[in-house]
């Protein structure tokens, strides 16, 4: 069966963006929960949450690379 490039691109970005989106939501939920428990540590928690978000965002980028390099 011959897949068209647009179909491949669409499927890749559609299925591949589920993982990082769920991951970022989990990071956000954990960050907000821990600020709720301990409001004084807000800046430290915010910094660590941003670092984790940067790490998980990179997975999204790997998916995006496939989308941009498929002809």
């Amino acid at each position: 069966m011959n897949l068209s490039p647009e179909l491949v691109k669409g499927l890749t970005i559609g299925l591949g963006a589920i993982g990082p989106a769920v991951g970022l939501g989990l990071i956000g939920a954990a960050a907000v929960n821990s600020v709720g428990r301990n409001p004084e540590a807000q800046s430290k928690i915010f910094t660590m949450a941003l670092i984790m978000a940067g790490l998980v965002d990179a997975v999204m980028v790997f998916v995006l690379l496939i989308v941009f390099t498929t002809k």
Binding site: I51, A53, G54, L55, V56, A58, V61, F68
Partner: protein
């Protein structure tokens, strides 16, 4: 015949950067050109401000440079568990990483980069300048410098053979085949760190460039209003990725230069190891 023309094109951002001119058979690409220019600017600024060093900073510009340096020193110090001498030893390298990545990313958002100033050579037109971090060669070079510093200082601190044995003896009896299998896995982890350092930075900044181009084409006549939120998002992501590169490389370096304690049974987790398992669990 090469000549400069100014108009906006509607071709997409190419994945590989194109050659601008060649010097003795070694071709120079447009991303290398911008990387060298920004490197010279940063070096010049720091050399000039180091010459005018006084106890109280003379002008507000030098004060600003001092604030940046102290900020990075504090960031590195929390990764080295408060060891100031070691943090100062590695400060120039991390300062160079952070400022080079940040300014290369931010200069890609200025007018004229990668889209409007062209060089005509023959029949096709190639952009004259392009951010250094949108080229996979550039980020691979940065990641190689970071990881080879980590490996060099790990070998220098512990010696070559104990360093390799350290990978095989994460869990205590190293002749146990289940624990022995962790050895090649840990070595693979080092290579994966190098790859993800390079690919993460390249992917985020390159995807930002393509997104900017797509939004410009889609907006048509209203591109001046449609790209403003995208540019804000790009500024935010540039700063985040520069900070992330700095944190990750300093955590790897701190982990590699702690001396191994392997005499008592409950000392196999140093504080930086705990921090590392937290970071690696998400990666």
């Amino acid at each position: 015949m090469n000549y400069l023309t100014h108009f906006a094109a509607d071709s997409s951002v190419p994945l590989a950067s194109e050659n601008v001119f060649s010097v003795f058979g070694f071709s120079v690409t447009n991303s290398m050109l911008l990387g060298v220019i920004i490197g010279l600017i940063i070096t010049g600024v720091f050399v000039v401000s180091a010459r005018r060093l006084k106890i109280r900073p003379g002008s507000r510009f030098i004060y600003f440079i001092e604030i940046t340096t102290v900020f990075i020193l504090d960031t590195i110090k929390t990764n080295f568990d408060g060891d100031e001498k070691k943090a100062r030893k590695f400060l120039p390298l991390f300062l160079a990483f952070f400022l080079s990545i940040l300014f290369n990313n931010l200069f890609g958002l200025l007018p004229g980069m990668g889209g409007t100033i062209f060089l005509h050579s023959g029949t096709d037109q190639i952009p004259l300048l392009r951010p250094f971090t949108t080229d996979l060669n550039g980020t691979l070079a940065l990641a190689l410098i970071a990881m080879s510093t980590v490996w060099f200082f790990a070998v220098k601190e512990r010696g070559a053979i104990p360093h390799i044995k350290h990978y095989f003896s994460i869990l205590k009896p190293w002749w146990n085949p289940m624990n022995f299998f962790l050895g090649p896995l840990e070595l693979l982890t080092e290579l994966i760190r190098l790859t993800t350092l390079a690919l993460r930075l390249f992917g985020v900044i390159y995807a930002g460039e393509v997104l900017l181009r797509v939004i410009t084409i889609l907006s048509g006549n209203f591109a001046w209003a449609g790209t403003v939120p995208i540019i804000f998002m790009e500024i935010f992501f540039s700063a985040i990725q520069a900070y992330l590169f700095l944190m990750l490389s300093s955590v790897y370096l701190a982990m590699a230069t702690t001396p191994i304690h392997d005499d008592s049974p409950d000392s196999s987790h140093s504080p930086s190891d705990q921090k590392m398992t937290q970071v690696e669990a998400v990666n």
